[in-house]
Structures are given as structure tokens and as C-alpha cells.
Amino acid sequence: MRHEASPRPVEPRALHFGDEASRQDAAHLGMWIFLATEVLLFSVLFTAYALYRLTYPGVFQQAPAHMDVFLGTLNTFVLVVSSILVALAVDAIRNGRDFAAAALLALSVLLGIAFLFIKAAEYTKHVHDGALPGAWYAYEAFALPGANLYFTLYWVMTGVHAVHVLVGVGVLVTLALRTLAGEFGARFHTPVELGGMYWHLVDVVWLFLWPLLYLT
């Protein structure tokens, strides 16, 4: 019953903007390339993390003791669950159940917002500790050489990620509203899929940030 969008529907055709299937093909490919650029964007931060972990191994091993592992882990589950909801929403819209899809999208928006609030709570704690990035670092309980770099990386990585979450929430809200307005259905739902893919990517990035910053 899904398969409106059968795998690789037709050969791409020269008749520009031909049928829905080839349009979908182009849109998905373009979205994947965009997601690839996002991956490379984050790779810079992962490189910096790896280099400084190599340079200051002790600091990076001790660092999770100064993080709120509970909140970080909670956030992981929040994001994964929201990802599952978005995947369910795409499944629903493919089957033409647009009200269910909108509701699922709205739910994951709520989870995204919850993520940001939990993140904000964590940030507040760090601010109170004085564990601020860069020149403002003043966390006396963790004053080893390199600890400032850990926290700078923590702020930059989670900060850039949080910006992506914010954008993702915006995208999901728009999609939910447009779904409610009946713009998407079993026949045409490419934007929902693409927006969902963006949200999943945000989730995937967090799945790497979480063990690196909180667990190991």
C-alpha cells in the first residue's frame, strides 16, 4: 500500500520536470547532497575534537565527570523518539492519513522543543560553574591544561547542533501546518520526506556527539 514511491520509479527523462517520480528522484538526490555538506560541516568539529583528544587524552577522559550525563542521555532518547515519530509521520502521509501525519509531526516538534529546553538547562548549569567557552573559561574544579578546549569544543559542537535543531523545528512546524492544510497526501509528499531527512540527520549528529562528549 505504500508505493506510490516505488524504488527508483522510472529512468530519469529529459523532459524536464517530467513526472512526479523523476521529480522525487531529483529532490532526494539534491537533499542527500545537501546532507553530505552538513556532514562535512560537522566533520571540522570532529577533527578538532579528535586532535585535542589526542593531545590532551587525560582531560578528555575526565571531562564526562563534569557533564550532566543524565540530561545528555535524556536528550538522546528525546531525539531518537522524535526521529521515530517523524518516520511514522512519513509512513502515515504515504498512506494518505494526513491528519495522523500532522499530529505525529506536531509531537516531534514538541520533543524537539523539549530537547532545546533540556539543553538550555545544561547550559545554565555550565554557566553557573563558569565552564564557559574560550577566554571566559573559569571552571576551577576542572582547571587542567586543555580543559578549556574541551569546553570550547563542547559549546561549539552542541551550539552548532542546537542551531540545526532550531532550524529543524521550524521546518517540522511548517510541514505540520502545510499537512494540516491538506497540501500533502499519498500522491505528493516529497517536502515531508525531505524535511524528515533533515530532522534525522540532526538526530544522527547528536548520536555521535553524545558518546564523545558525555560517555567516554
Binding site: M1, R2, S6, P7, R8, H28, L29, W32, I33, L35, A36, V39, L40, S43, V44, F46, T47, L51, L54, T55, T73, F77, V80, V81, S83, I84, V86, A87, L88, V90, D91, A92, R94, N95, T124, V127, H128, G130, L132, G134, A135, W136, A138, P145, G146, E193, G196, M197, H200, L201, D203, V204, L207, F208, W210, P211, L212, Y214, L215, T216
Partner: protein
């Protein structure tokens, strides 16, 4: 409802893997902690890409694209690490080390005190 069931099944695996990752971090794994955590994260990423991001339905272009991106992330991280790990002693940083500021750049240099809008204790 087959699609929905599959989404839920994959979701359950994801949550289980996340729990596993958290559990492993409580164990003294030593040098294996990071590879284990990253391996689990990679598994989760592949699951999400294939089943939530529709990669399973789209062979060809998209798989090529994201695979290439992965390879290049590996190249960047790998070569930088390999180079840095092989550096001779004198070029490794001895830790925070006083470097004098240039004359006349105090204004544009980074502020020493926290900005006023931060709710500091």
C-alpha cells in the same frame, strides 16, 4: 501498516542500542570505550539512514553521495590525526604557554571578563 511496523521495530532497536551504549560507558573498557561507542553510533546512523531516510528505497546516487561524504570525513580526520600523532616532541604543545599580544590589539582582542548579559553567580 507494514511500513509503520517496520519503523517501530527499527525505533526499538535504536533505543536498545542507545541503552547499550550508555551501559557500556559505565564499564571500565579502557582504550576500547571510544571505538565501541563510535561503532554503536555508526550502527544507529546506518539504521536511520537506511530505514528512516529512505536510503533502502534509493540505490545509486544517494548511496554514492553519502558514502563519499563518509569517506571524506574519514580522510580528513584520519590524515590530520596520523600527521599529528607522528609529530616530534618539540612541536607538541607543552600546554598553555604565554604568548604576548600584539601592541595595539588590546581593544579587539578577546574580552577577559564574562560579558554582562551572562547570568554569572
Amino acid at each position: 501498516m507494514r511500513g509503520g511496523v517496520r519503523v517501530l521495530a527499527v525505533g526499538a532497536v535504536l533505543l536498545a542500542l542507545a541503552t547499550l551504549s550508555f551501559g557500556l560507558s559505565r564499564l571500565p573498557l579502557g582504550a576500547w570505550a571510544v571505538p565501541a561507542a563510535l561503532g554503536i553510533a555508526l550502527c544507529k546512523a546506518v539504521l536511520i539512514a537506511f530505514f528512516f531516510m529512505h536510503l533502502a528505497e534509493r540505490p545509486g546516487g544517494p548511496r554514492l553521495v553519502i558514502g563519499t561524504a563518509g569517506v571524506f570525513v574519514g580522510i580528513l580526520v584520519g590524515l590530520v590525526l596520523a600527521e599529528a600523532a607522528a609529530r616530534a616532541w618539540p612541536t607538541l604543545p607543552p600546554g598553555p604557554f604565554p604568548v604576548s599580544r600584539l601592541p595595539g590589539t588590546e581593544r579587539s582582542g578577546p574580552p577577559r571578563a564574562a560579558p554582562p548579559w551572562l547570568p554569572l553567580p
